[in-house]
Symmetry: C2
Subunit: 270 residues, 2 copies
């Protein structure tokens, strides 16, 4: 019922009284002016954000799109970023991959062997054999997209299937087959707290990765009330609200203040 | 009703009497012995495969997983491969991405600006706002996963929704909103020809990208009979059956023979 990565997440969440996942969605255009034109400005920025939040965060989420759009340089930055993440934290590649058999296995190899990530996010559309290759790695965590925080979630995720239950519940029902060893979690958006409560009901103990708090509008209190089920059950991601809390050279200090403010909101859950 | 890339695809398909898409799913372990231990063995292999098939193929499909699993070296090979593809051919990044807003836009930038691809494959799970960022690029083609060729397609894709229609039809119905400008195609597996016919009925002229022929078991004749609707409407992908037609140093010659054999099967469609 457990794996080493999930066990560590539980311990760190309890010890640090934190549910905080910092999303490292970096963009050159958003760097403070003093860093923007430095060749390694992004790397320095990431380093400082990590230093400023390392004792507060129990997870870091790297959105691969922000890196891939920079080409080879971006993939190099992804490698550097992954290797800088503190060892206590869950290292999540928010890569939203999903492919079958051999191909799925190669994606798993990319993020679990070539890169030192502990977890990935996955698209369920192609079915269970697109999730399976990621579960062949023991002590890793696959967060499957269940209910996302975007408007388009109504197009398919929230649509009722023949039995009246929405697609996301079917996704979770099939994922549960693999849940026994504790290697599955779900992405569930913060912008629909009532749905988050339904997701929690469906998976009473699974780790939920919740984006959409802060800049996207969800509230920490609502998310905790709807989704918290003990240490390691909930990760609340904040990206922009922490990374770009200040546009100036005090960005790291302000990032820490924003992270501390989120932690203060979280303490009531413990 | 058309865009430049789709127009080119139609012309090339008609002129070359070809529906052939060559899937460049390369693996060091599968190289001929003489190339396996060369530092640039994979690059040489890809170069030779492209040379041997360039006049026969109207598209090349690069499965990003096979490259990403090699880390930085793999991303470099992906760049090199993309830049070697012949200008007449549709350059497809089989990346199966899918994310919203900003993030989706960054993936589009990665494949359409940093890399010179004409087309991508996309996961529809998150809904229309995860497809939209890719359509912001004129004269590109987004192949949306509809019915895939794996066993797990029954888990969600083929499941009936409340109105009795399977999920994949809902995916296509929503995608059709964007179809007007001809920038949407669909991935439809070859292993279920009867489904391919239904997909074609649903989208009478949309380009269909059909994997699963050859090594995976679908037949060219069945695929054409079910899915062909004029030049540019159908791309039949073959990877292993062409790339690894021979394990020896005659791999390029044998790849060409395999491609020619597929073309011979295709001519009846014209």
């Amino acid at each position: 019922m457990s794996n080493a990565v999930l066990e560590r997440l539980r311990q760190e969440s309890a010890a640090r009284k934190s549910l905080l996942c910092v999303g490292l969605d970096v963009q050159t255009e958003k760097l403070p002016l003093s860093l923007r034109n430095q060749p390694d400005g992004l790397l320095k920025f990431i380093q400082e954000i990590i230093s400023a939040t390392a004792d507060l965060a129990i997870a870091y989420k790297v959105n691969t799109a922000f890196y891939e759009c920079m080409g080879l340089k971006g993939w190099m930055l992804l490698e550097q970023t992954a290797s800088m993440l503190p060892s206590h934290a869950l290292k999540i590649a928010d890569c939203k991959r999903g492919d079958i058999g051999h191909t799925g296995g190669f994606y798993a190899k990319a993020f679990y062997e070539q890169l030192p990530f502990d977890a990935v996010t996955l698209h369920p559309y192609m079915g269970s054999d697109s999730i399976k290759p990621f579960l062949d790695y023991p002590d890793k965590l696959a967060f499957i997209l269940a209910v996302t925080s975007n408007a388009g979630a109504v197009d398919f995720e929230l649509q009722p299937m023949a039995d009246g239950r929405p697609l996301w519940q079917h996704v979770m029902a099939i994922s549960e087959r693999f849940w026994q060893d504790g290697s599955i979690g779900y992405v569930a958006g913060a912008t629909r707290p009532e749905l988050l409560a339904e997701v929690r009901e469906f998976a009473p103990t699974a780790p939920l990765l919740v984006p959409g708090v802060g800049a996207q509008g969800g509230s920490v209190a609502e998310v905790i009330s709807a989704g918290y089920a003990g240490p390691g059950s909930l990760l609340i991601n904040a990206s922009r609200s922490i990374l770009f809390a200040s546009e100036g050279d005090d960005f790291a200090e302000k990032a820490r203040e924003a992270a501390l403010a989120m932690l203060a909101e979280m303490t009531e859950a413990f």
